[in-house]
Symmetry: C2
Subunit: 323 residues, 2 copies
């Protein structure tokens, strides 16, 4: 039997120390040889300290970015690239074929999928057209004249809960719709916030959905969370991702109250809180490594530990300037 070998490149490792540690563990558990390579634009990204080889690259919007990545792929004999931040998804989706030509599979959905997810208005329209439940939006479902407060204002292409405001009256609305650049104004949903860690194979068949309650958030990310075995939410996650045609990791945010589920956004990449899904038994790193090695991976939609809590704290890497 041939020894299994796989070199993976994570573009934009950033703060994803724990996720990359999971991939190292998965490689080790599966007896797969190979190295984990990481890139970032910032030499001070903590994720760079856990990879086997690290590279600084240009910003993904710069014309050099793709060539730099290709050079690293050739030099390190990379078989797969896993992007981790929203901003690079589109550019990588556009160059998927070129990379495939040099033997590198980019784990990213197609351009059309990324375009739907990148802007909250296009996401909204997609949900409405496909009858997925989502909060009402000003100028589509209601007008200022019949608006009911509270409402929620956020940037259409924002992230991390930055510049998001609950508005309680017309005065606040008039202010914040000018204050927030490119705003989307929605009904405010009073409910429990869930994140779904979803994983589809490279043909778009959903293999796993782990819903988790966001018990506490911090800087827009789950700070405390708990897995929940909700058949309804698992079905929503599977349906949305298979309809959308996304591949690989997807993160879906929604609110749930007595009236139902309201999908807020969808990100076709690993979410910040995915370590909980992994810890609960949905070992996405292992599944992805097997897929890349052309091994069979069967759906395990409901197979994860229920009521598992993730309690986050901050750890740090300390480096001296002369290192």
């Amino acid at each position: 039997m041939k020894a299994k070998k796989l070199n993976i490149l994570f573009s934009s490792v950033g703060r994803r120390y724990s996720l990359i540690r999971s991939f190292k563990k998965a490689m080790n558990d599966l007896g797969v040889k190979g190295s984990i390579v990481g890139t970032d634009i910032n030499p001070l990204s903590p994720g760079l300290s856990i990879v086997d080889s690290k590279y600084l690259v240009s910003r993904c919007t710069s014309p050099e970015f793709i060539d730099e990545l290709k050079d690293i792929c050739r030099k390190e004999d990379i078989q797969a690239i896993i992007p981790l931040i929203d901003t690079e998804l589109l550019v990588l989706a556009r160059h998927k074929d070129e990379f495939r030509d040099i033997g590198v599979e980019i784990i990213v959905s197609d351009e059309g999928v990324i375009n739907i997810c990148n802007d909250k208005i296009t996401t909204y329209k997609y949900f409405r057209e496909n009858n997925f439940p989502t909060p009402k939006v000003l100028d589509f479902d209601f007008t200022l004249e019949n608006a009911e407060f509270p409402l929620f204002v956020k940037p259409a292409n924002g992230h991390g809960s930055i510049n998001t405001f609950k508005v309680n009256n017309l005065n606040e609305l008039e202010f914040f719709k000018k204050y927030v650049k490119n705003p989307i104004i929605q009904e405010f949903i009073n409910g429990t916030e869930y994140t779904l860690d979803i994983f589809a194979d490279l043909k778009g068949r959903v293999l796993s959905v782990v819903p988790r309650i966001r018990l506490e958030t911090r800087a827009g990310e789950t700070n405390k969370g708990k897995t929940v075995k909700s058949e309804k939410l698992i079905k929503v996650g599977k349906d949305v991702v298979e309809k959308l045609g996304a591949i690989g990791p997807v993160t879906l945010q929604c609110f749930v109250n007595e009236k139902g589920v309201y999908i807020i956004e969808i990100n076709p990449r690993f979410g910040g809180g995915v370590p909980l899904g992994i810890a609960s038994g949905a070992d996405y790193p292992k599944m992805l490594i097997k897929l890349l090695l052309n091994e069979q991976v069967l759906p395990i939609l409901n197979e994860f530990k229920e009521d598992m809590y993730m309690l986050r704290y901050e750890d740090a890497i300390f480096i001296e300037d002369n290192q």
Copy 2:
């Protein structure tokens, strides 16, 4: 020689996993026997998973809190309490003598010091009265008529950068001074943000000051930081804390630009980013343990590694419901 023994209680361990780990290491390095006890109001605090014994207590504002703490102190033979969050400092300062009567030293400054630090207006007045440099404040140093934009609006008793806004014009100011509850309106300082980790002995003599640049913040805390050996800032830290008469750990925030230093706030407790000061060589846990064992600790004001970087990432504890 008698074996050294010390039982320490951390009230409100919260997310302070790394800090408590440093105390465990310090006890071990110094050959001190004893246990680390942690309390919190939230069973889901990750800090509770690293202490030797954990207790859930009432909120510090509740009438039961002090008696609950005393019971734990007696049961666990505690010699020192180290509070970690702002809200409990005042109540603990008020009960310092009572705890001393049962053999427990609370590492907290006196009530007068806490009162100065707890509210940004009293802090401001204290800085002005003692000629410490601080940003100008509306109604004290300037009026709305001669205000120069941008300004900065924040809650007088806020924390973690919540509800803080840079305001660029009169329209935004009029809005945010109503939107933010109990606001303080300051000149906006364009400069580099520093945090000083300061440590004074139990008589108020400053033993160490480690200034660190806040290269990046997240939810109001340092996410990336770097130590800086600035004699000017070390002097500011020493002067402020000795004048104030604080004891134990103190965190001071300031901005520095070409015109000078502007102190923003001071918190008489360990700051969230103190692991960098500790990693750079200012081992506050060791110093505090020695002080509690009545060993001599000499000032090491300038003794820490310069240009040491702290790069934070999120780690997590995973627990199952039935644990």
